[in-house]
């Protein structure tokens, strides 16, 4: 049985994994870059090893350093979290070679799913629907013929691509040639691989994914769906489960296909099959994520399971504890990703020192966090500082609870997307559960409206009063300055004095 796990990650996912380890009496090893000495995951772990300078490529992405840290501390397993090396089959293979348990699927499964064309071929063979299209490299002439067969709109994509690079949508004949050529040159320059393929373009699809769980004995179950269509530039912002567009039949059908997909690559551990779903509930395999996902907590809340514990059990070579018939969604869960970013300034990242932080608590509230008051968010990594997850008996209650939770979340010192998230919870498309991946674009004006709630004048006056009172008290304090080296700042002292006695 695994006794000590090195978490090859940072931030909230590192802390989240450690929480489950602690509950299983498994010792934890944090790794950290030089910029992360004060990150919560270092403070939380039983042991901590510095693995290099701040840039990821010199620390969190250096396999040799991670393996050395595991050796030094005697960790018998590595959990990769998400991002960084979590989908690196090289890392998984190296772990196996070094006799360290990799908490994830086999390197072979990762590779088959990692390459888009191989994944697509495998899915077709397994009987999982894929977007109509052609998966091998095409000349311009061949492309024209294929497009005629599929019908508009279509998309040309770089096989090795990702994140919108090397992609072009084509809506009519005249666009084919230019789109083909630019996609090809972008693919060559970005990925050094000019292979293109052509697919039917699904306009503003729903992004719906199925969590699956497999063990080393060939058992695979699905843990139902997550609706992830609230995306901005392919970045998920809000996720919910169940999906408001899902039906019992469709769930059963897609779930079975997700299981087939996972079985086709002998998948073991936790993974996600992402589907595109059009408005007629036609669904197509998009890709498989061979790791835990950011939005895994909403599945945990509606099913009341702990996915990290299940991952560790599978890594311990135990058969699945759960059977498909045990899996019943109850109630509704929503997750909001809190990011240090300036929504009013083109979502520019906003790192900095957290001056004051109040996290929401109470019934139905889960916060997967890692920041704290006084912590400086480093400039080197992802701007996501935590996740708010609520559960309630119905979708309508869950939305109301999320509003309450967003109201309670207070942070100063950096800018965050809290206001923006709050507006999503008021957008009528979201409230009605009628939205797809076009949601953010369609509602952008409403979501960024500055004159959004309440009288602007009244709240402006409140802001003026707060600043003005602080200014006045500063003047007073400077006039009566005392040497004061108590740890509690004079501001707090003032608060106390003011409340309990009199100014």
């Amino acid at each position: 049985m695994i006794k000590k796990i090195l978490i090859a990650n940072r931030g909230e996912i590192a802390v989240r994994v450690m929480r489950s380890c602690k509950e299983m009496n498994i010792a934890t090893v944090a790794v950290y870059s030089e910029a992360d000495r004060t990150s919560r995951h270092v403070l939380y772990a039983d042991e901590a090893i510095c693995i290099g300078p701040a840039p990821s490529k010199d620390s969190y992405l250096v396999i040799d350093n991670l393996i050395a840290a595991a050796k030094q501390t005697g960790a018998d397993a590595i959990h990769p979290g998400y991002g960084f090396l979590s989908e690196s089959s090289d890392f998984a293979r190296r772990c196996a070679k070094e006799g360290i348990i990799w908490i994830g699927p086999s390197p072979e499964a990762m590779e088959m799913m990692g390459d888009k064309i191989t994944a697509r071929k495998t899915m077709i063979e397994a009987g999982v629907p894929v977007v109509p299209g052609v998966q091998h490299d095409l000349s311009l002439e061949e492309a024209k013929k294929v497009i005629k067969e599929i019908g508009y709109p279509v998309i040309v994509k770089a096989s090795a691509g990702g994140g919108g690079k090397g992609m072009r949508v084509i809506r009519k004949d005249e666009e084919i040639e230019e789109a083909y050529n630019t996609a090809k040159s972008e693919a060559l320059s970005s990925f050094a691989n000019g292979t293109l393929y052509i697919e039917k373009y699904i306009e503003n699809p729903h992004h719906i994914e199925f969590q699956i769980l497999g063990d080393n004995f060939g058992n695979v179950i699905h843990l139902c769906e997550r609706e992830c269509s609230v995306q901005r530039r392919h970045q998920k912002i809000v996720e919910e489960s169940p999906s408001p567009m899902m039906t019992a039949d469709l769930r059963k059908d897609m779930g079975e296909k997700a299981i087939m997909a996972a079985k086709a690559v002998n998948y073991s551990g936790a993974g996600t099959i992402e589907f595109l779903v059009d408005d007629n509930k036609n669904y197509y395999f998009l890709e498989m994520n061979t790791r835990l996902q950011v939005e895994h907590p909403i599945t945990e809340e509606v099913l009341r399971i702990d996915l990290v514990k299940e991952q560790i059990n599978v890594a311990n070579n135990l058969p699945l504890r759960l059977h498909q018939e045990d899996i019943v969604q109850r109630g509704h869960a929503i997750e909001c990703r809190i990011c240090a970013e300036d929504t009013e300034n083109n979502f520019m990242p906003s790192p900095g020192i957290i001056q004051q932080l109040t996290e929401p608590l109470g019934i139905g509230t889960r916060v997967d966090n890692y920041v704290y008051e006084g912590y400086e968010i480093p400039i080197f990594y992802d701007p996501m500082i935590g996740k708010l997850i609520v559960w309630a008996t119905t979708r309508a209650y869950a939305i109301k609870r999320m509003r309450r939770v967003l109201f309670e979340y207070k942070i100063t010192g950096i800018k965050t997307n809290i206001n923006y998230l709050r507006r999503i919870m008021d957008a009528s498309d979201f409230l009605r559960g009628k939205y797809d991946t076009g949601f953010i674009e369609k509602n952008s004006e409403f979501l960024l409206d500055e004159h959004y709630e309440g009288s602007q004048d009244e709240t402006e006056d409140i802001a003026i009063i707060a600043a003005y009172m602080d200014y006045i008290l500063n003047l007073e304090e400077n006039a009566t300055k005392t040497t004061d080296n108590r740890v509690i700042s004079k501001w707090r002292e003032f608060g106390k004095r003011n409340a309990m006695l009199r100014i």
Partner: protein, 165 residues
């Protein structure tokens, strides 16, 4: 005293202060308030029994104040600040002579060429930092003097990317 909030200039006067009880006039509106600071950078205001909270971050006499789902820049313009403001105005007025990123990152795209004429708001480069892409724009009409980076370059925080004239 003048307090600037967004585009608005408010006239603010402290009428009286007795313990938590504060009377303030903002423009022609008089507020009778109960004000306490329960925590560093947090202000609780009771007005006609309504409970308001504001959190703020201060830098000299400039504040960022968050109220319920709003964030305001507030500036206290006392006589000293007024003096400095006036001096500054004479000195430089929105002088921008370079494009830089406050964070280290990677150049994703260069959208301009040397010598190109720019209008206020035109984008110059796209930088990827903290896994996000951001466009950097010029704040005034100007001309691209020099381009010091190329697509794909890794840059440091505050490094000059493009010079303007």
């Amino acid at each position: 005293m003048e307090v600037h909030i967004g585009g608005r200039i408010a006239n603010v006067e402290l009428i009286s202060k007795d313990g938590n009880n504060v009377v303030i006039r903002i423009d022609d509106k008089e507020y009778n308030l109960d004000v306490v600071m329960p925590e560093a950078g947090v202000c609780s205001i009771l007005h006609n029994s309504k409970s308001y909270n504001a959190e703020y971050k201060r830098k000299d006499k400039s504040y960022i104040v968050n109220t319920q789902f709003h964030s305001f820049p507030v500036e206290i313009v006392d006589s000293q600040a007024k003096y400095l403001r006036n001096r500054k105005k004479e000195d430089v007025d929105e002088q921008q002579d370079r494009i830089f990123s406050p964070m280290p990152g990677k150049i994703v795209k260069v959208l301009v060429e040397k010598g190109q004429e720019m209008h206020a708001g035109d984008a110059v480069v796209v930088v990827e930092a903290m896994k996000m892409q951001s466009e950097y724009k010029v704040k005034r009409d100007c001309k691209i003097k020099d381009i010091l980076i190329a697509e794909g370059d890794t840059i440091d925080g505050n490094q000059t990317l493009v010079t303007l004239e």
